[in-house]
């Protein structure tokens, strides 16, 4: 009992079954990320002006990751073309490059981008307590944000002296040993622009640290976790899910490069089709990143 058109295409549709199957799956993935992006749109539209940040992500690193993913899209298709020409060695080479690029993408994200967020501290100040922290918020006065027609800054970020007091319910205040330039020089107009690379924090001398009373802070203060604001919630959710898809693709490619390549000897046509079909999935992963990158890093 053979299922027809598993490998050879059906004449009237011009498709073999797996190709139609993967395109249907990709259609559902488009709707899935469509739902996630609609989350992004409504979080952004619904955020208070001072709660949707810009310039928190490292643009060169993000651009590098974009290049890596585009390169892997090219190499996967080169590996498929090599298979069509029955050049197994070239297939192996291009396929190895593909999953290596995928791993590199994940490595950059998981070893630098995400940890950089987790090790950074941020806190939103309640509107009524903002005056206490005016030195680092820069809202009042003739050259303050309000005078310049900008929404007030209500966010202080940096590095706490000890992380323990952030989560300790008995600790009443948090001492910041380093703060970001936006808070160090809050009235500088330079700070209103998004920057290519998040700038270094400024270390504060002993005795001149910033003391934040927990009662003045909106819930969610702490590391740059999803609970800090909706931007981070969107960022981690979308890049996390995208990353899971990258991982899935990498695993599939490693399988086809390694043990799965046995099929080439017995049925090269079917094997070639499998590479084409998984390549289509990989291109969708690249497509999604093409939207994620500007939305989170640039705009």
């Amino acid at each position: 009992m053979e299922i027809p058109y598993t490998v050879t295409p059906r004449p009237d549709t011009g498709l073999a079954n797996p190709k139609l199957g993967i395109w249907l799956f990709l259609a559902s993935e488009v709707m899935l990320f469509g739902g996630l992006f609609s989350g992004y749109i409504f979080m952004r539209l619904g955020a208070e002006p001072w709660m949707w940040p810009h310039g928190w992500l490292n643009v060169p690193v993000g651009t590098f990751n974009t290049f890596v993913l585009i390169a892997s899209s090219v190499t996967v298709i080169l590996s498929w073309e090599a298979l069509k020409m029955r050049n197994f060695k070239a297939f192996k080479g291009w396929m190895a490059l593909t999953w290596l690029c995928g791993l590199l993408f994940l490595a950059v994200k998981l070893s630098y981008e995400w940890p950089a967020k987790f090790s950074h501290f941020g806190a939103y100040i309640k509107k009524e307590s903002a005056e206490k922290y005016e030195t680092w918020l820069g809202n009042e006065g003739p050259d303050g944000r309000l005078a310049r027609g900008l929404p007030p800054r209500l966010f202080i970020s940096g590095h706490p002296k000890t992380w323990a007091e952030v989560s300790d319910p008995k600790a009443k205040e948090i001492v910041l040993a380093a703060i970001d330039e936006e808070n160090e020089k809050p009235k500088s107009e330079e700070n209103d622009k998004a920057h290519f690379i998040p700038r270094d924090m400024v270390h504060l001398h002993e005795g001149h640290e910033v003391k934040l009373d927990k009662a003045d802070l909106i819930y969610g203060y702490g590391p740059f976790y999803p609970k800090l604001n909706t931007y981070l919630a969107c960022y981690f959710m979308i890049t996390g899910l995208h990353g899971l898809h990258v991982l899935g693709g990498v695993l599939v490619f490693m399988y086809f490069w390694g043990p799965g390549a046995k099929l080439y000897k017995t049925n090269p046509v079917q094997f070639t089709n499998r590479i084409e079909v998984s390549g289509l999935f990989w291109h969708l992963v690249d497509l999604i990143w093409i939207f994620v990158f500007p939305l989170f890093y640039l705009l």
Partner: protein, 643 residues
């Protein structure tokens, strides 16, 4: 088709393992045959049996709720209270005390317990009952047979789809037994409640009802998506030679469109479920608005521990974007089954086949742009409201076309009122009532009054209960002989039919009256303690409706007994085509073997060639060669075609 590639042994493909394909009749062993099967018929049966079990479970939850609606906090009678308490525990059942003597008098459903049962009744009936049976179960079994092919396009994905569904079943059942019991925020799971319920120091971060509901839904949605891909690819690619799109049985069209609805509509709900999971697990604020204060549930009137900035309405948009097409997913397979049964038992073709196919295309397309008619009360302005009112009214047209075509199909028919036909015929007016009572709801001015009342409950239950579930019963009685080789008992079937028809109308018809009088949904005591003066005149129906519900439950025992008994001792069929039907699934041995057909299938004509003038019998099977050809037609009680 070329066989060059297919002659190679493919170790990864199918359940055959390393066997050569010329030996098709080897025994795959117990586990591969009954549990981890890739055969679409076994998977269909697995889905159907699991779904029927959940349908009964969900029905049971409702029967318990109806006691609470009719009798408020009064304890359950006799052994029921202790029995229910022993299963579901203290989160759901609480002790009832005599108000005067303060003595313990029994167990009653707590208010939170009512919420749990209500939310899970809805979830289970929709996602674990109807969709697995009507879509996954029946389509898996019947569809490949009806298009004349050997299996689904992706058998292993088919199996994976069932097991993903099974995992979701386990999670949902498990959720009843964690602290706080199962999800209680409605089957619609609206935030902010859905973000805070079952959270806090008294609850486990993951093993709580609300979070388990979300995780279970993710597995359920995955199963649906994998299944949809399979059905669409199968219908597009694997139709037998001669089976053109215009010759497809309407059942196949209905399932095909249903698969597309699931494929494109489910993912936004999956994305919303992930966002809700983030809110619950990581404290994010996708759906938590700024400044919300919660009383009770350990929150003590404090501002909520979320950063704010989220939008509860966004959940509603994403949820209803799925849930509206979902209601068409609930009805279309039923319409498909009813169409087959009506054609077969009227001995004449379906009236308006092309119109019906066009109607389901229109229905599917429009179903994606009507969803906010579930959200008229969320403060949408006139422009967006007008849009959704318009599209909702337009979508009633294809539904009426479908119903009218089926009604007209009865006209002039030589009708055999066997049990499947009884259910299929009753489907028509029941679906009619359900659909027509929906039309006023398209207008937000009406919905202003009717939203969240018993009118809505009656409206949608008429469509799914005496609608789809009757269609499912019809389908079970109709295809049972093909699946098992035995007939179900006609007497029990007729009793089941009449009992169900009467009970279900007594159950749901009065709800229209209650709804129009203003009785709200989801009131644990049926309204006795709330707004008692305005709705008091209709509250006496509660007791009667509850009795009808329990009677309906009792009648289903006839079906269960019939089903189980007939599998073992039912009257054996005397032919492979006991109903004398034209479609291809009756062209197989009974039950169909692995690979389905024992001859090459070619389709020569449309699916409803009943009572063709000049033919020698009153049905002409699709695969029977035109008269004059000599190909033997196996498995028919038929005179060989001759000039």
């Amino acid at each position: 088709m070329t066989h060059a590639a297919e002659l190679h042994a493919q170790p990864e493909h199918g359940a055959h393992g390393h066997h050569d394909h010329s030996h098709d009749h080897h025994d795959p062993g117990f586990w591969r045959k009954w549990v981890f099967s890739t055969d679409h018929k076994m998977i269909g049966i697995q889905y159907t049996v699991t779904g029927l079990a959940f349908l009964m479970f969900g029905f049971g939850l409702m029967m318990v709720m109806r006691w609470s609606i009719a009798n408020g906090a009064a304890p359950f009678p006799n052994w029921c209270g202790p029995f229910l308490h022993s299963i579901f525990g203290d989160a759901v059942f609480e002790k009832a005390f005599d108000p005067n003597t303060k003595a313990f008098v029994g167990w009653s459903l707590s208010t939170q317990g009512y919420n749990v049962f209500g939310a899970m009744h809805g979830t289970i009936m929709v996602f674990f009952g109807i969709v697995p049976i009507a879509f996954a179960g029946f389509a898996n079994f019947v569809l490949p047979l009806q298009i004349g092919t050997v299996d689904m396009a992706f058998p292993r994905i088919n199996m994976a789809s069932f097991w993903s569904f099974f995992i979701s079943c386990v999670i949902m059942v498990l959720s009843f037994f964690v602290d706080g019991s199962a999800a209680k925020s409605g089957w619609t799971n609206y935030p902010p409640l859905a973000g805070v319920a079952d959270t806090g120091p008294a609850f486990h971060p993951v093993m709580n009802g609300g979070t388990l509901w979300l995780i279970g839904m993710v597995f359920n949605i995955t199963a649906s998506l994998l299944g949809s891909i399979n059905f669409i690819a199968t219908v597009v690619q694997l139709r037998a030679p001669g089976m053109t799109w215009g010759r497809l049985p309407f059942f196949v069209w209905a399932q095909f469109i249903t698969a597309y609805l699931l494929l494109l509509a489910f993912p936004p709900l999956e994305s919303a479920a992930i966002m809700n999971l983030f809110d619950r697990a990581f404290g994010s604020s996708f759906f938590m608005p700024t400044g919300l204060v919660v009383n009770g549930m350990n929150f003590d009137g404090q501002p909520l521990q979320f950063s704010g900035g989220g939008s509860p309405i966004l959940w509603q948009h994403l949820f209803w974007f799925l849930a509206h097409p979902e209601v068409y997913v609930l009805i279309l397979p039923g319409i498909g089954m009813v169409t087959e049964i009506i054609a077969c038992n009227c001995r004449k073709p379906i009236w308006g086949y092309k119109a019906m196919v066009g109607a389901i295309f229109a229905l599917a397309f429009l179903s994606f742009i009507v969803w906010a008619h579930h959200m008229y009360m969320t403060g949408m302005g006139p422009k967006v409201s007008a849009f959704f009112q318009t599209t909702t009214i337009i979508i009633s047209v294809p539904s009426v076309i479908l119903l009218t075509a089926l009604l007209l199909s009865l006209w002039g028919g030589s009708i055999r009122f066997n049990t499947p036909m009884c259910f299929a015929t009753a489907f028509l007016p029941m679906f009619g009532i359900g659909g027509l009572t929906g039309i006023p709801l398209a207008f937000n001015a009406v919905d202003l009054y009717m939203h969240d009342t018993y009118y809505i409950i009656a409206h949608f239950h008429y469509i799914v209960a005496p609608g789809t579930i009757f269609a499912i019963f019809a389908g079970v009685y109709h295809w049972f002989p093909k699946a098992t080789g035995r007939m179900m008992n006609e007497t029990l079937g007729k009793l089941h039919f009449w009992g169900s028809l009467v009970a279900i109308n007594c159950l749901f018809m009065p709800m229209f009256l209650q709804g129009m009088a203003g009785v709200h949904r989801r009131w644990w005591d049926g309204g006795a303690s709330a707004y008692a003066t305005t709705v008091q005149p209709v509250l006496y129906w509660n007791q009667k409706i509850s009795v009808a519900a329990w009677a309906l439950g009792a009648v289903q025992l006839l079906f269960i007994v019939n089903f189980c008994w007939s599998i073992i001792r039912g009257k054996k069929v005397t032919s492979d085509n006991p109903w004398h039907a034209t479609t291809l699934e009756w062209d197989t041995p009974t039950p169909p073997p692995h690979g389905n057909f024992i001859k090459e299938i070619t389709v020569y004509r449309g699916p409803y060639e009943y009572s063709v003038p000049g033919a020698d019998k009153d049905y002409t099977p699709q695969s029977e060669p035109p008269s004059g050809a000599s190909a033997p037609v196996l498995g028919h009680v038929a005179v060989p075609a001759h000039a």
